[in-house]
Amino acid sequence: MMAFTIAGRELRSLFLSPLAWAILAVVSGICAWFFLAYLDFFLQMQPRLAALPGGPGAADMVVAPLFSTAATVLLLVVPLLTMRLISEERRAQTLPLLLSAPVSMSEIVFGKFLGVLGFVLVMLAIIAAMPLSLLAGGGLDLGLWAAGVLGLLLLLASFCSIGLYLSTLTAQPVVAAVSTFGLLLLLWILNLASSGGNGGGLFDYLSLMSHFQPLLRGIFSSTDIVYYLLLIGTFLVLSIRRLDADRLQH
């Protein structure tokens, strides 16, 4: 399938770019620092927590806060990865080389999405591996960990699809990055409006955070999964439509 060829090319070009390596190093460094800070806090609190019946364990005190922090860090970082997906090709005028190949718009968009998601998965693997190191010295609620990883994966895939769509709208990667960050932040904090009363339910449903927090607590709800799949699918379809519209305009 051509989408995998495009994904491979995208992934390779990301690994050939110094920006991606810098991002990988910075994200790993920040998350490792937070992981150690949460672990240190947990170890300090452990004697008191042990006295509580059904008190929180390492997964609650380390894994969930780490993944939550990682989500915030990646909200800042993913736009830098997605900004160049289409807009850079527009700017460098290399998009026609791809569009004139016997590859469908769906394959182009899906390939680009898979390529950047592959890079993001590397970051996710590094972040997810940190709490697993706790298994060497004790127990870890792997169910909670797995739910958190799934939540982070769906969240990052949503970031990528939104970033990809906004990258199709402009020939300026910086504009794509800033607009992606703006939209992601808006979707992230949308649930804050739900405390205001009218329309709160809708904002709460639309918020990325509202669907991420339950998974961090180990609550697996099909509503949350469907929300993310719909969000990813919607922005991928919008990207296809946007590129298709180019053919009509140009």
Partner: protein
């Protein structure tokens, strides 16, 4: 002869500008076809529609019998476009770019031999592992040609391939284009250099204002302008020109005379004989054949606007 490119009543509008107004023509298989026209004539729009980068408002284009909209995969397999701009992906080497482009056409390891042959043919072998950023403009142009040929297309579109290139590379590109043509490829060339079209193409179409002004063989086009220019220098500055030559004279500067001769009615021998009969000795003589440029300017002028 079968048709390589069939263009039927193609219309395209961009906002207030009607870029193509019902263009219809056919490019025979194996032709070296020149698509000429001033800026804004619609050449690039037509190529974009052919390559699937734009969609026609009406009409149809077929490449090797495949409709570019309904059978777009097949038509793009049959077409290779060398773009006018020097566009490149800065992350990859020459060989990687060709492998990726080959991958877009679903060609895997089996195409490696052809990629190596392309690298050799286009003198890119010693730069195969160099990053595209490090290459000169001429080398980048060769890479673009290799990219367009990586899937062995039957029809090759060269969109102003020699724009801004030096004489040596231009000669090399002409040589390569002729070779492609000899090997059976149908070549569609757009260029602003009319001597290039005259030298390479056997059939020519001229567009202006989105309309087809003419489409004919090069010989027929040149024959439409049946004049040639004769420059003669005589041994005197003051003389009486024979009466028979007066209608043919276009300019006279001291001893230098310029005549416009009809290819069939007027002969050089008759002019020389008339001058000799008048007692004039010819010191120097040169002729100037009509070129495609004169035909182009005349046709474009007739259709409304100069280049």
């Amino acid at each position: 002869m079968t048709t390589a490119i069939s263009i039927q009543q193609v219309h395209k509008r961009f906002a207030a500008v009607q870029a193509l107004r019902g263009i219809s023509m056919e490019v025979p298989q194996g032709a070296f076809f020149g698509l000429l026209g001033p800026n804004g004539a619609g050449k690039s729009t037509l190529i974009s529609i052919m390559a699937g980068l734009a969609r026609a408002d009406a009409g149809a284009i077929r490449v090797m019998g495949h409709n570019v909209v309904s059978a777009w995969r097949q038509s793009r397999h049959a077409l290779g476009v060398v773009p006018q701009e020097l566009v490149y992906d800065p992350f990859f080497s020459v060989r990687e770019v060709l492998r990726l482009q080959s991958g877009y056409f679903g060609l895997g390891r089996g195409n490696e031999a052809w990629i190596e042959e392309l690298l050799e043919t286009l003198s890119l072998a010693d730069k195969a592992d160099a990053n595209l950023q490090a290459l000169s403009g001429g080398m980048k142009r060769r890479v673009l040609i290799a990219q367009a040929l990586v899937h062995r297309p039957e029809v090759v579109v060269l969109d102003e391939p020699t724009a801004g290139v030096d004489v040596e590379l231009r000669q090399a590109l002409w040589h390569f284009a002729r070779r492609l043509h000899r090997e059976g490829h149908t070549i569609l060339l757009t260029t602003h250099y009319l001597e290039e079209a005259e030298s390479l193409c056997d059939e020519i179409a001229i567009l202006n204002h989105g309309q087809l002004v003419t489409r004919d063989s090069k010989q027929n086009l040149l024959a439409r302008y049946p004049w040639r220019t004769l420059h003669i220098t005589v041994d005197r500055t003051s003389f009486q020109l024979p009466e028979a030559l007066v209608p043919l004279l276009t300019s006279a500067d001291d001893s230098c005379l310029t005549f416009r001769l009809h290819r069939e009615r007027d002969t050089i021998g008759a002019v020389l004989a008339a001058l000799q009969a008048a007692g004039l000795t010819v010191v120097d003589l040169s002729t100037e054949e009509v070129g495609l440029e004169e035909v182009f300017l005349r046709l474009i002028g007739q259709s409304g606007e100069g280049p």
